[in-house]
Each structure stands twice: as structure tokens, then as C-alpha cells.
Symmetry: C2
Subunit: 218 residues, 2 copies
Amino acid sequence: MNEKDLLEELIKVSEEDSSLTPKQAKILQAAIETFAEKGYASTSTSEIANKAGVAEGTIFRHYKTKKDLLLSIVSPVVTKFAIPFFADRFVQDVFENKTNESYEELLRTLLMNRFEFVNRNTTLLRILLQEVSLHKEIQELFQKNFLEKVYPKFVEVIEEYQNKGEISKDIRVDTAIRLMMTTLIGFIITRFIIMPDVEWDDEYEIEQTITFIRKGLR
Amino acid sequence: MNEKDLLEELIKVSEEDSSLTPKQAKILQAAIETFAEKGYASTSTSEIANKAGVAEGTIFRHYKTKKDLLLSIVSPVVTKFAIPFFADRFVQDVFENKTNESYEELLRTLLMNRFEFVNRNTTLLRILLQEVSLHKEIQELFQKNFLEKVYPKFVEVIEEYQNKGEISKDIRVDTAIRLMMTTLIGFIITRFIIMPDVEWDDEYEIEQTITFIRKGLR
DNA sequence: ATTAAAAGTGAGTACTCACTCACTTAAAAG
DNA sequence: CTTTTAAGTGAGTGAGTACTCACTTTTAAT
């Protein structure tokens, strides 16, 4: 049901201009399902072809290698996960001092934003987490996006709210970023990857997580 | 250099009574190195045999299947990571109300204890993290150890310190455990797996992490 | 010294792997 | 309608793959 959602999202994302053929979409869908279930290395191209209802050669018409197929799935997830961290209008306003809102609102927006993203793309995140440690191409993508897009913005935020007195000046900026991010990401991974089957009171957990960070850094 | 440490630790652990032959130790060492580097599925038994200086058949003399070899490496890590969470004497004292120390000391002991363990066994943790999502045998081991060994102890701790007024009673016990654990584990994984190459002021980071949790849950 | 059990070997087995290529079919361009 | 380009096919290929087994060597027990 939400399989379609994520595929649509990927289709939109992975090929900026050119659109995919129906068979190519089928290949992506089959690859995503199988990679998530058995891992990249244990998935054979013949299995993907079978599941997609396509000849094996068709895969290699569109993707030079099997690894190419993996990267075409995983790369847009990395960038999409990093970039919109700060694409939200409210967040941009905060950065440009257009609001006097406390950073509680910033945290909430940030967390809910990424929460929804992962909720819609759990399968893709699972593949990403499984493969990131084995493929340096993915690691480099991660590093590039983090260093260029996410990290500098976080430094701004922390420093600004240190000046406003909402974050303690006793804590180093890098340490504050680390604590904030591991709490946010730790929550999302626990919620969707480690324990997706238990019943979650999402609203409550989100609020408690925000409070935890606020009080922890104060 | 610390490769020997971890192997020795594993040897002690993996075979409770019987000792390993030299060749079997070589096999384990080679398997650990290669699994960590390329992942379990992309490592061939012939490669392990080569690196260990052993005939391929020797591997299967000691381990029924390749997966058996993986589990013999990973299983003791799971239990060793979970059990001594509370094996430390001080921590036991705390549980049995033999001390009036604040839970700041509990947190510090807990964190430093696990910090040192992972420091000595980073390679093994890397393999564990890589493979846990693909092998339900490992997942079950995890779940069993967590539910039986770690979780109940954590419930005790949280409730006790809620009564002592060091942890807010407004927060659900499960939520407090989640926030505490993701912060601790998030730090350790960031420190040793994600960013092992940057220079860390470990003492500082440990203290800040403890302060963060304390203030966050208060 | 003899026997029995365990450890070690490496060629062999049946099978799977990612990838190729000569070819057919469909779509787009002129 | 004709030509060009792209999409799709599937049998074929050589290089592995995990694992077996008949055999040799080493160790331990009597």
C-alpha cells in the first residue's frame, strides 16, 4: 500500500528529467523489495528479473552493473534525507531570524518532518542502513551531504540559541549537535527499524523526545 | 595490535570449555577480518581459508555451514554486550540499594564499562551491526538478551530514581529507557563506528553525555 | 607400540553468479 | 512510409560458490 508511495517518490526523485519505462519501474520496485529483505549481496539479478517479470538482460540495459542499480536506489535517499532537513519554510525563517519562536518549535518541525519522511520510506532507509558500511560510494555521499548541507546549518542554530540562552554555553557546539542528532535519529530508527511492530503513541514520544533534548542541553 | 585482544576475548568466550586448535583460531581471525571488511554474504569460504592459511575443508570440519561460522562469532558478542551491562559490582550495589549514590555514578559506570568493551571489540560490533538485520537468529538472540537481562534491570533503575526524585515522574518508564539507551548507544556507535577517525576528547564527551541524560530526564 | 579418534587436506560436485551479445520488437523522427 | 534509435529478450559464458568425501597426518589413550 505504501509501497506505491515510496516507489512513486523514488521515481520522481531518481530520474530528474527523463521518465522511466514501465519495466524499469518494475525493476526498481523488485530490487527495492528484495534488497531490503535479503540484502544487496544476497540478491541475484535473476531474482530481481523474475520478480519484476522482465528478462535479465533488461536490467543491464538500464543499469551498467548490479551496483549501479543499488546506487540509483540509495543515492536519492541520502540526498533527500539530508536536504529537506532545512527546506521547510519555518526552519528557514528561524535561520534568518524572522521569528522569535523558541527552538522547541524548530525541533518539533525538524523531527516531525523527518519522521514523516522515514514513515513513507522505511524500506529505502532499511536498505541504506544495511549497505552504507560496505560501500564507500554511499559513505562519501553521506559525508558530502552532511558536511555541506546539514552540519553548517546545525552550527548556526546551536550558536544562535546559545546566545538566546536556550542552550547552555558550557557545551561545545559539536557535542550539542551530536547529542541532538543521535537523539532524533535514535528515536526514528527505534520507531521504524528496530521496533516497528510495537504500538507507539507517536505524539507522546515526539513531545517527550523534544523535551528531553531541550532540558538536556539547557 | 588490538586484533589479538579481540580474538583472545572471543576465544575465551566462544568455546566455554574446549580450547581451539591453532588453525581454528586462524580461521576465526580471518573470518572476523573479512566479514567486517566485505560483509558476510560477500565473503567466500575459500577467501577465509586462504587468509587463514588453511584448506577449505578445515573450515567445514569445525563449522557445519558458513552461517554457523558467522553465528559462532556473533553470538558471544551479543550476550557479552548485554550481560555485563549489569555485571559490574557497583551497578549491582545500586540495584540492591546498598548505596545512596546518585544515578550520575550509575550512568558513568555503565557508559564507561560499555565504552571500553566496544573499544576492545569494534570489529566484532561492526560485523554484528552489519548482519543483525539480515539474520533472524541474531535478532532473536538480541531480543532474548534484551528482554531477559537488560530491560527489567532498566525498569528497576528508572523507577527507583523516579522515587528518589532524580528522574521526572511525568515521563513513562519505557520512554525514559528509550531516551537513555539511544543516547548511550548513539554515542558509542558515533564514536567507534561512524567517526572513529576524528580526534575525540573521550573524557569530555562521556561527561557531557551523562549530563545530557541527567538533565534531560529530570 | 598399537589403536582409535580427531584434525587437516584438496580435488571434485552441482550449482549460481553477474554480465554479454546477437537478435527482435516498439517508438520516435524524418 | 522509411529510417533511426531505444527498449527488451534469453540463451550462453566463464568465473566463482558452499559444501563433500575419501584420504592422510597428528594427537591421545591404552
